[in-house]
Subunit: 372 residues, 2 copies
């Protein structure tokens, strides 16, 4: 265990939004933070220098995918994930649980762990709370996640209760499985769409004690109100002095709402996946680049944006690349969307610091990006 608390709470806005700083084995970052997703040890299409230039300071990589390919031994031999992928900043790795439960290769789940088939070649694989920690430690991750069971939206109360209890026992085993103290370990709060189960799960995680607390199993189809309600139910019982990470969320409006609900960390494929599909985030709303109105539009995506893409290329050129299926388009779009997300988080932090987050939030949620 690290001797000092990894998370420092620097300020709280009257709304409940928090400004903080997280320290890891590969440097610090300010919160609230958004983490771009580099599933297979690469943020799709981007160099790590470009990722950093967008303003991102921590990235997420996927234990499930890296475990299957290239395999843990390869990354160990490379000297760890940071060296393998040429990223010197902090890396958070998920446990693999979400992929095991969502990629349809699931064979069996028991008290001990989970058996699944590789989506690559069907090989039967086994993941336990202990092996998930071991793998993430071997990858050299800075923030490692406990293995949890992920239930689909619509699970019954009984199913949810049973599953959440298992996630709690797995979390305790994850903590006991740690061999090194370099990485931070986060527990994951589950509990489905049941407020009392969410609270019970959160209290259980706090009882076990982790370096930070994630909220899993949200943004799976529930309404925005339910998502916020579940988030708030959890953050209200989590310790003030620990970081909270809302997994897989979300849209810009989701981020603003969830910051108000006391969340410090986020990850989502949305900015990069949407970029590849030609959907760009701007201060003036979403922009679908394939639209013919942009054919001769020589303005940048967002005239007020300072990203590399907006500094060098027109909507007309980006539309041309998209229509021509040129991969440079996916890359330039990804740079823009990640810059948008990083800038949004920076604005959020500045407003929390200035104690103006409430006003910022109201303006944002009545603006062109409110609809999601």
């Amino acid at each position: 265990m690290q001797s000092l608390r990894p998370f420092e709470l620097l300020a709280e806005d009257p709304t409940g939004a928090r400004l903080g700083r997280m320290s890891t084995g590969h440097g610090t970052f300010s919160t609230p933070v958004f983490m771009p997703v580099g599933t297979k040890a690469a943020v799709k299409g981007l160099s790590t220098e470009e990722v950093r230039e967008t303003g991102a300071r921590i990235i997420l990589a996927n234990t499930y995918h890296l475990y299957l390919r290239p395999g843990v031994e390869v990354i160990k031999e490379a000297g760890g994930l940071h060296r393998f992928m040429n990223w010197s900043g902090p890396i958070l790795t998920d446990s693999g649980g979400f992929q095991v439960f969502s990629l349809k290769g699931l064979n069996r789940i028991d008290e001990e762990g989970v058996t699944f088939s590789s989506h690559l070649d069907g090989t039967r694989c086994r993941l336990t709370p202990e092996s998930a920690v071991e793998i993430q430690e071997a990858l050299g991750s800075d923030i490692i996640m406990c293995l949890d069971e992920c239930l689909p939206d619509g699970a019954t109360r009984e199913e949810t209760e049973k599953s959440t209890a298992l996630t709690g026992r797995w979390a305790a085993r994850s903590k006991a499985a740690r061999r090194e103290d370099k990485a931070l370990l986060f527990g994951i709060v589950q509990g489905g769409m049941y407020t009392d189960l969410r609270v019970r799960s959160a209290l259980e995680m706090v009882e076990t004690g982790f370096d930070g607390y994630a909220i899993g199993g949200l943004s799976v189809g529930e309404s925005k109100d339910v998502m916020t309600e579940m988030t708030r139910a959890v953050t209200e019982v989590l310790p003030r002095e620990s970081a909270r990470y809302l997994m897989g969320v979300g849209t810009p409006a989701d981020l603003v709402r969830s910051v108000e609900a006391g969340v410090d960390m986020f990850d989502c494929v949305m900015p990069t996946r949407n970029a590849r599909n030609g959907m760009l985030f701007t201060k003036h709303g979403k922009l679908v680049i394939k639209n013919s109105r942009y054919e001769r539009d020589m303005e940048p995506l967002d005239p007020e944006c300072g990203c590399y893409t907006c500094s060098h290329y027109s909507r007309s050129y980006l539309r041309h690349l998209f229509m021509s299926r040129e991969m440079l388009g996916a890359r330039l779009n990804s740079i823009h969307n990640l810059f948008y997300y990083a800038s949004l988080m920076e604005s959020i932090r500045e407003n929390i610091k200035a104690r103006t987050f409430g006003r910022f939030k109201s303006a944002f949620l009545s603006g062109p990006m409110a609809g999601d």
Copy 2:
């Protein structure tokens, strides 16, 4: 017409290899030169800054593709191709002839021009020597190519003679069609695999008079010996003081052999296309990155290479990206291969300058990259 000769012959090696400097409306470049291919106004996957960092100083773009998409009017509105694609250096555009004749959309060829169907939507299009010049001038190209007829390998002498004569008449019309004097205009020597027809075509082009001379219709399936024989037949009758451009060539060994045959300029999709397919050029020979021997190979592609890819990434990581179909792999591989080509041209120029090209060539053609 420009008042000064665009090409300055700086040195000739006893072998016949030439060192020169070409001046264009967007700067100068040293020859022999290799031009990366940016078919659709993008070198696939790369930013123009990256292209420049590989050592490339001039790129090629494709009139046929840009004419169909995004269309000349869009690029004109953007202020020309340079601004559209954010490349401030010289651009050479081909005439579109090669694509018309190779993309299977050809409908009819007559004295006036060529009718073809767009490979995008089947629209019937018409290209004449005059319109090819007009389009390239509108794109703002620095070096524009005459429309020529391209014959497949295996054409009879009679077919070749007839076609080459047409290319000659089209070339004269191309010259007469020029409206601006900013761009340089290159004639294209054809003549198939018939030495006397090659010579006749070259003399005809010289008689008409161009800013430079291209050699077309080679590297279409003929043997390396025939290619060199045809190249030499042409360069021997072309004026010493004009640049010669061998179109669509080639492998590293092709470049070395053709420089000896008096060629100054080259373009080819090979370095970038092979990169996307995981084939890398190194001083020690070709490297196929998907090979399992590279799974745990933590060396760079070429330990002596100074490119961005070799400075930051291992074979192991590049193999992982290739196996995972991550587009970052195509990009990093392309950077490496273009750097290899640019470095090869730089070595060639240095050896011509030092009058050691003959030795360099012999060593190269008995080395690991000789086999192509």
